[in-house]
Symmetry: C2
Subunit: 313 residues, 2 copies
Amino acid sequence: MPERLGEFDLIRRYFAADAPRHPHNKLGIGDDCALMSLPPGQHLAITADTMVENVHFFADAAPEDLGHKLLAVNLSDLAAMGAEPFAVTLALTLPKVEPTWLEAFSRGFLTLARRFNVDLIGGDTTSGPLTLTVQAMGTVPSGAALTRSAANVGDFVYLSGPVGDAGLGLKIKQGYRCSFPEIPLRCFHRPEPRVELGLALRGIAHACIDISDGLAADLGHILTQSRVGACLDWAALAFSDAMDAYLAESGDWRLPLTAGDDYQLCFTVPPDRSAAIPAGCRKIGVIEVESGLRLRRAGSIELLEFTGYEHFL
Amino acid sequence: MPERLGEFDLIRRYFAADAPRHPHNKLGIGDDCALMSLPPGQHLAITADTMVENVHFFADAAPEDLGHKLLAVNLSDLAAMGAEPFAVTLALTLPKVEPTWLEAFSRGFLTLARRFNVDLIGGDTTSGPLTLTVQAMGTVPSGAALTRSAANVGDFVYLSGPVGDAGLGLKIKQGYRCSFPEIPLRCFHRPEPRVELGLALRGIAHACIDISDGLAADLGHILTQSRVGACLDWAALAFSDAMDAYLAESGDWRLPLTAGDDYQLCFTVPPDRSAAIPAGCRKIGVIEVESGLRLRRAGSIELLEFTGYEHFL
């Protein structure tokens, strides 16, 4: 039986066992506000992402995965900016208090938080339809942030790993039979934010973005905000064995370019710095003067739309 | 007819017409993160509050009021910390895109934001049941924050204005007939965050809190976290004409002590600083060694529970 827990007890029991550990965090949960300081020369990078039941996750999603993913997608935005995370707030709207659910959710959330030395410093707990909002905060040296508007003509376009696996994971959840479902399902349920990579790209990359809305849509944001275009090389894209099998079977080559929920980083680098790119990243194209996103594939070039996942469409 | 607006167009059209104006805000909406800087010697104060349809507001709430109130309740938490607001993020979960609703909501939100020189620097827009989360950020000089744990025995307890009007406003919404409904309804729909007062209390007040969960509950937080007690004087409380009439008619003297959604500040001040208290604030009691909250009323003293509004109870 759920116990009759007040809001304050609830927060305390599942989320606020410890005082903040990171030295930037001066006051955590329990007052009207949390307090933090910034070292000299550092900017604060801030991002917020919401996940809604039956929109961003299925009602049967494992709460531990959900806690992990909710934090991961926010840390990924910090990574895409080259920022080092240290604090998050959590706004939790819950239909009811279910200790088993909360225990698993907080375990998934806090395990990832501890791995990146991130403190949960505040938030709100309310009753209502299951809706989860995290705001994540990190530091980046003044002037060192990797913005979407910083791509230059002639930059090489890189991608930090295989593309499309989360989209394939969603297809598997929806009934597609795959012989190698582990990686796609893991990408879908337990995405890994590329925090260390984002930090390693400071001073190397020009523009950077995570591909949470899909490669074409998110690279499209870089192109639009940098007022440039790009040409990608299909043969340079990395795919998992599962994606190779899916592509061979379905011919659906648009999936890895448009499926969302991937958390690799896509970034642009001037050619003379390309030797410094961390291992595992692949050069997949080049930034060009001509606007638009082009794909070289099977001997021809075609124009891609900046299409990805959008709400309300 | 609602237009088919993408998430990005939606945010841009209603909320992000302008680049950030406050000098602390270096990058606003449109990238993976927003960026801000802090002046030397300042801490960042952060708070997050969520409002859910049919829990925190009625489905027929005027969207302009809702936009105002959502921001006001967050600015109130900064005020209670003695912090000066400069930035907010907004996580907006909407069942559908209704331009008329969004236009009014953003007008209420942004009008209040501009009044306090606060920039909307980021957030998220998702589809789902109407749920609104704001995170507000402000600066407070290192060591100057007004925390809940700073009350000392012998401090006077102050309240910044009349108490209970929002609770009475709710009763009016629910059918109670009141001869002077304007002030209670205004307090309920359009609460005023006491930002300037919070700033004026730096260096004067010890502990401070806003009474959004009700006077007894929120003063209870100060008492618990400061490990002290208090005795309040009923005769010292200020009431609106509407509340006076309600009390005379109903005898329900607990309402103003327990009703939530009020945004006056309750704070404690050492007696030798009481001459510096801004006008309009009333001394309503004193901090004592003995734990618990007592009320002197009609010639006797009774113990009050720290009862207010809690979710899930």
